[in-house]
């Protein structure tokens, strides 16, 4: 699972997007800086900012050599333009078996190939085929039709929170269950199966589970979906999995895709809601602006996506020699893109380290870019556009119940977030 999450999104595309070769020659090996290792540690007291070294690296050279935990020397992209170009360029592959893991804890050498149905770790034409079958199920229009249901689920959880607290853990009470329920309903996971699904999903987001346990949990999740497939074929209901049984997909592909969608829907928006609430509570003037003006919700969501960049790191491998930004990336080199650094690039976003819900944050790369750009992004937008304003309107006095430094951060995870967010409010 860890490798399923490294790439921020389901990202490859036309080469005319790659940055044009600059005047300088790409063959300047002698002038090349020493390879760096990927900075992973966020500064104390800065839970929302990428590791500070990334900004220095971006300023020095937005694309530079990087040493991977297994010894491979590849590249690290930290600039917005170069990250966007790499994500859009089909000369860079997403196939897991060509990639070195940029984060410690993985196997030496390349990763195992993607399991069937895992869209993140494959290239065209295989990827295009799956994507074409799924894109129609996640359109802007279809996801907006879910707004009312999201509002209802959100209201139900806010009611439960009010009865339960204060104090409550916002992750358990709100951030996790709202998107979990939505993806289960969308896919058509029966009520009786949801607890089991969530148990496996919890392993995927556990700090203590190793790569092996996570892989096992993903397999278990896929098996659970696999058991649903024959039932959906026999008695189709009004849901995505039933819909897909009428396509050309095999039972094995359906199980794989179902497991992939479930995993992607369980651990992403949940972390945006948890970390996003923490960010808004830490910037009360921004939370007040959102509470006062519901019309701000759309751009607030984009700014939170940019500012937090929870899927902070993506990975590609060069299929051929590529000249980019005056550098020569050799065929076989792994390229890591720091989405969080790209989204804080001052060349793209003025005053990038300030959370400003009034800004137009369009063009951020939080959902990735290129052919693998997040399939579920329009669902995530609807969920956040409903959930954030509803939470702050229901609890106008919402605040942290612990000092900010005591909020446990998902520092070691490839999707950033908080494990718990104890919150309190004034009871009327």
């Amino acid at each position: 699972m860890q490798h399923e999450q490294i790439a921020p999104s389901d990202l490859s595309a036309p080469s005319d997007l790659s940055a044009p070769a600059t005047g300088q020659t790409a063959h300047q090996a002698a002038a090349q800086p020493e390879p760096v290792t990927l900075p992973l540690t966020r500064a104390a007291g800065c839970p929302f900012d990428p590791p500070a070294e990334l900004a220095e690296l971006r300023e020095q050279q937005p694309l530079r050599p990087m040493r991977y935990p297994d010894g491979h020397v590849g590249w690290l992209a930290t600039g917005h333009a170069v990250t966007r170009a790499i994500a859009a360029d089909p000369r860079f592959s997403s196939r897991y078996e060509l990639l070195r893991l940029p984060l410690p804890g993985g196997p030496p050498g390349p990763l195992p190939p993607a399991q069937i149905g895992d869209l993140t770790g494959i290239d065209a034409p295989e990827h295009t085929r799956y994507r074409r079958l799924l894109a129609g199920k996640f359109t802007v229009r279809r996801m907006r039709l879910l707004t009312e249901r999201v509002e209802q689920i959100t209201a139900d959880h806010l009611d439960a929170m009010e009865r339960q607290g204060p104090v409550v853990d916002l992750v358990q009470a709100f951030a996790h269950p709202v998107p979990a329920l939505m993806i289960c309903e969308l896919l058509g996971v029966p009520q009786s199966d949801r607890a089991g699904f969530q148990e496996h999903a919890a392993v995927l987001s556990s700090p203590d589970a190793g790569l092996e346990a996570q892989m096992a949990a993903l397999t278990a999740l896929t098996e659970c979906v696999g058991e649903l497939v024959p039932a959906k074929r026999a008695h189709p209901t009004d849901d995505l999995l039933s819909d897909l049984t009428t396509s050309e997909l095999t039972d094995e592909e359906l199980a794989g895709i179902g497991g992939f969608l479930l995993a992607a829907g369980l651990d992403t928006t949940a972390n945006m809601l948890g970390l996003g609430t923490f960010a808004l509570l830490s910037h009360p003037e921004q939370a007040a602006a959102l509470r006062a003006d519901p019309g701000l919700a759309d751009q607030a969501v984009e700014e939170l996506l940019r500012y937090l960049s929870i899927a902070h790191t993506g990975v590609r491998a060069a299929l051929e020699d590529v000249e980019l930004d005056g550098q020569l990336i050799k065929a076989g080199d792994t390229v890591t893109v720091s989405v969080s650094a790209a989204n804080r690039d001052p060349l793209k976003f003025p005053d990038p380290d300030t959370l400003d819900l009034q800004r137009k944050a369009t063009g951020h790369l939080a959902f990735g870019h290129g052919a693998h750009q997040c399939l579920g992004q329009q669902l995530a937008r609807v969920e956040m556009r409903v959930a954030f304003p509803a939470l702050f309107r229901r609890f106008p006095t919402l605040r942290l119940a612990v000092p900010p430094e005591d909020v446990p951060l998902r520092d070691a995870m490839n999707i950033h977030g908080v494990y718990q967010l104890p919150v309190t409010w004034d009871k009327e």
Binding site: D16, V140, G363, G370, A371, Q373
Partner: protein, 76 residues
Amino acid sequence: MHLSIDRDRCIGAGMCALTAPEVFDQDAEDGLVVLRTAAPPPGLHAGARLAAGLCPAAALTVTEQDGAGSSPPGEQ
């Protein structure tokens, strides 16, 4: 302004329909881009340009009327 789309490149991410819904839509079946108008009125030009720049798959091409030719679908 003249717009054209490339459905072979399109991945159905929906950025165009989100950004300029008066100009772009998504096919209800396959999610791919549908052009609502190839020659949007001036009031919609900025939105159309922004959408073309945001497209993750470079599937939208804007040709400005002044004969400046095809603007590459890059960053807005």
